[in-house]
Symmetry: C2
Subunit: 199 residues, 2 copies
DNA sequence: GTCTATATTGAGATAGAC
DNA sequence: GTCTATCTCAATATAGAC
């Protein structure tokens, strides 16, 4: 494998396992079996190799959202398909995902700025739009579209979080689909729902 | 404020904003307006002050789960109440929460080991038990209890995540309750559910 | 308990030869 | 492109006076 790719691969693994700040350039070059100046030759510095990594990963995510806009099917089907694709992409790049997750939701760890928000907001918008289509088609209730969006996003996120911390629990693509179908259908029995409405 | 508490408070803010590894003991003592040896006097070292912080925060979380076991009401009511209490505790300690979130789901950042899992599993168990009670009472469907548990946990998590990254979106306690009620009730219309069943 | 002063280590980064 | 050797600085941690 080319030196440049070895560096990127080692940096991904180390940043993912130890965090940006706790990872040293010495460790990256040692794992790549090269010396320090090589890293500074291909990338400007530690921030440079980090940004290269993150940009590459988010480009894939972004492309997936773009292609999703032109898909066919009912709102439920499209929501399930998009969620499955996002989850699969996450699993294929779980090391990168762990790093991005911690920097987006947690402290910045001294990492250089990257605009995660644009992508996350685009994800939310894509889901919200699908929900609105479902409402217009009479497929979904006339309720608050944002609440529905968050419920769906919550299921996708929780599946990813379980894979990050407890891969042994077997939170596979199929399980996520089950949970999403449950959310679309509801947990309460018909009887309970009628009692709730009388209040 | 006593010196010891000033140190704990400053460390919480800094660890939360910059991460464990990127925060230096110099910054902690500077923010506390004391000198370095004071930190080493009250706490054994950098790891010591971190563990003190984390243990204190999780003790509160644990206590909340314990008291929840002896609450009264329907399964739905108890699920909503527990979720609300967890979310409120999260909001009251959002700095600690940000730090714990990133270390639990993300890289360890060189931070010393802390057994987050015990608490997270206990949280899951508490929700799962409430779901099972709901099933036994005929309040919930006879479906997979774990799927229901994850759907509920997903909503609680997503509310916390929005507060971490987009407090301006107004993800308040009330919103979380709405989302949870939506999950209990379901998103699809009755008509859609019948079509789905015929397949 | 809190200080000044300092030991020691390891980090990011580079000069200059090949 | 890749190396050896090294610079510089900042980090954790402590000795010892008050």
């Amino acid at each position: 494998m080319a030196v440049r790719n070895r560096l990127l691969s080692a940096a991904t693994e180390l940043f993912s396992r130890k965090g940006y700040s706790a990872t040293t350039t010495r460790e990256i070059v040692a794992a790549s079996e090269v010396t320090k100046p090589v890293l500074y030759y291909y990338f400007r510095n530690k921030e440079g190799i980090y940004l290269e990594l993150i940009r590459g990963a988010y480009a894939k995510f972004d492309a997936l959202l773009d292609t999703s806009r032109s898909e066919k099917g009912s709102a439920s089907e499209r929501l399930l398909r998009l969620s499955d694709q996002i989850f699969s992409l996450f699993m294929k790049n779980i090391e990168m995902a762990r790093l991005m997750y911690s920097i987006y939701y947690g402290p910045h760890q001294g990492a250089p700025f990257f605009d995660f928000d644009t992508y996350h907001l685009k994800f939310q918008d894509t889901i919200r739009q699908l929900v609105n289509e479902g409402k217009q088609q009479g497929e979904f209730h006339k309720g608050n579209a944002d609440d529905m969006m968050w419920a769906i996003l919550g299921a996708v996120n929780v599946a990813m979080e379980v894979q990050l911390c407890h891969p042994e629990l077997g939170m596979e693509r199929k399980r996520l689909a089950q949970i999403l179908k449950l959310i679309l259908r509801g947990i309460s029995t018909q009887k309970t729902r009628q009692e709730e409405k009388r209040k």
